[in-house]
């Protein structure tokens, strides 16, 4: 049994942390702080192809697969967006593609950040979530295919 927290457990943690804040200023101060603390993405990843479309600010998102789990790294030139990404990474990074695809991310609404999920061009949280799920889906397909190849090899042997 792994002692790793589930996506839902991490979401609950964030909701609980936010419940301590009395005002919107406090919430944003916390998000800004998270943004400032998010490790800077190396320049080699800051490529056009890693940009998330649909954000007013520039957002770079890269993913890697380690032991069947998806690891996300991201950065932005706007600090609030960076703070929001930081929360998404905390929730989703290090989980399997299936877990990521199925995550409902209800915490965003519960902490009052739904406005950032709106279908508008001015904020990119929705675009980021979509992109993270797309990466997970891509790794899922890749894993299934390489698994399929292996079974084919076994058969021919």
């Amino acid at each position: 049994m792994s002692d790793q927290k589930t996506i839902q457990e991490i979401e609950n943690e964030i909701v609980e942390e936010f419940s301590l804040f009395d005002s919107w200023d406090d919430k944003y101060e916390y998000i800004i702080d998270l943004g400032k603390k998010l490790p800077v993405l190396e320049d080699k990843h800051k490529l056009d192809e890693n940009k998330v479309r649909g954000c007013q600010s520039t957002v770079w998102l890269v993913a890697d697969s380690v032991d069947g789990k998806v690891i996300f790294k991201a950065d932005s030139d706007a600090v609030i967006v960076k703070g929001l990404i930081s929360m998404l990474i905390r929730v989703l990074s290090g989980h399997t593609p299936d877990e990521i695809i199925q995550a409902n991310l209800g915490f965003i609404q519960k902490i009052g950040m739904t406005t950032h999920l709106a279908q508008t061009r001015s904020n990119g949280l929705l675009a980021m979530v979509k992109q993270m799920k797309n990466f997970a889906l891509a790794y899922k397909i890749k894993n299934t295919m390489s698994h399929g190849e292996r079974s084919a090899e076994t058969k021919s042997n």
Binding site: W24, D25, Y28, E29, I32, Q56, S57, T58, D77, A78, V79, I80, V81, S122, N123
Partner: protein
């Protein structure tokens, strides 16, 4: 006597505010401060009432109905055309075409006049400070026809007219220029641009989306060939606008869309088109909003553009004076002749962060590239924070903006 003169010249902003119900609402628990007027203005009660009145009392399709409601709707619709003619001082009502807005007006000219008149090797000139709506229609046209699109450069928000003169040649067929920059507020010298273009034998289209609410528009004195503006930026409803074109040009242009309203007679072999302006108004128009445009234009004219302009200019000076005192603030565009737009950036801070934190205090500004990416590219910035002021904004609201910015900077830096 002096006192009464002052009273008539000064706008009673608090009385004006009472006429705009949206200004009474709260945002994030705070009274709304609306500084996104270059995107769209709020609507006065008379405009809202006129829209309700139309749908309540005389909604009918225009022009062909023989019944009372159709006659009333037609009369109101055409009265609004007359009001629009007067608002921009066009020579005749045939020159006033109802559109969905400025964007459609520009597209109409590109599609009909452009397709008929632009050929391979021709040149169209725009400026570096255009809104995308005055770039893309011409790009599409040039691509289709093998023509070339050129841009008048700008420096620090001012068009370089000497460079413009060098661009003009016998190949130039059209100059399409923004009257007032939406991103910076710069008022461009359209009269001179038009004179030079005409000397070179080119026509001129003026994008009046931002100017029509602030400046006195006289298309005859300006001598532009086409002029487009939108109702919703002049305190009127969305979804309706006006394209002005010189009569002889409009008469020679092919129709834009085909359908009802725009025909005289249809047989399977041949259709003859309706007279101006109906040739360009296919299908049932946006009657309700067109009717109410008159109410909005009269609302503005009754208060008086000069009075509004004086108020807005004073407010802009007040805002600019305080903005530049904030650490790291740089106002973008230093044109001497500006309307009430304060566009600025702040060192080490992304405009979006400011926009989010101001909204959190009930203050609505616009952040981003303002649909003018080539201009932002010239300044080497991804976008600005834009506070665009209207007749109903106050110094107290500017103070709130400054406090909001100070608090945001404290949180961000």
């Amino acid at each position: 006597m002096i006192q009464s003169d002052t009273i008539t010249k000064e706008l009673d902003v608090y009385a004006i505010r009472q006429q705009f119900p949206a200004l009474n609402r709260q945002v994030k628990g705070q009274p709304l401060v609306y500084f996104d007027n270059a995107a769209t203005t709020q609507k006065p009660q008379v405009v809202i009432d006129a829209l309700v009145d139309y749908y309540t009392n005389y909604n009918a399709n225009v022009h062909r109905g023989i019944h009372t409601l159709a006659e009333e709707a037609t009369a109101a619709f055409e009265a609004s055309r007359d009001a629009a003619r007067q608002f921009i001082n066009a020579g005749s009502r045939e020159e006033i075409i109802f559109t969905r807005g400025t964007t459609e007006g520009i597209n109409l000219v590109a599609y009909t006049w452009g397709r008929k008149n632009i050929k391979a090797g021709d040149e169209i000139i725009i400026t570096e400070m255009e809104h995308h709506s005055n770039i893309v229609p011409w790009q599409l046209l040039c691509e289709e026809k093998g023509a070339t699109l050129k841009m008048i450069p700008q420096q620090d928000g001012v068009l370089l007219l000497d460079e413009y003169k060098k661009l003009l040649s016998s190949r130039t067929k059209l100059v399409s220029v923004v009257h007032v920059s939406n991103a910076l507020g710069t008022v461009n010298p359209v009269e001179e641009i038009i004179k030079l273009a005409h000397q070179a034998g080119a026509l001129v289209m003026v994008d009046g989306a931002q100017s029509s609410v602030h400046l006195d528009i006289d298309v005859q004195a300006m001598d532009c060939d086409f002029f487009a503006f939108s109702s919703h930026k002049v305190y009127g409803p969305t979804g309706i606008g006006v394209l002005y074109g010189k009569k002889q040009l409009l008469e020679a242009m092919p129709p834009f869309q085909g359908g009802g309203e725009m025909i005289k007679e249809v047989t399977l072999e041949k259709t003859t088109y309706a007279d101006l302006p109906y040739k360009f108004e296919a299908g049932t128009p946006n009657i309700g909003d067109a009717v109410v445009l008159k109410t909005a234009l009269e609302f503005v004219s009754k208060i008086g553009k000069e009075k509004i302009r004086n108020h807005e200019t004073e407010l802009l000076a007040y805002a600019t004076e305080q903005l530049v005192q904030l650490p790291g603030v740089r106002v973008i565009g230093s044109a001497a002749h500006k309307v009430s737009v304060a566009s600025f950036v702040i060192d080490k801070v992304h405009p979006q962060d400011i926009g989010i934190l101001l909204d959190n205090r009930g203050i609505a500004v616009r952040t981003g590239h303002h649909c003018a990416q080539p201009l932002m590219h010239c300044f080497g910035i991804p976008g600005t924070i834009r506070a665009s002021l209207a007749m109903y904004n106050t110094k107290e609201e500017v103070d709130k903006l400054i406090v909001g910015l100070e608090k945001a900077l404290k949180m961000l830096l």
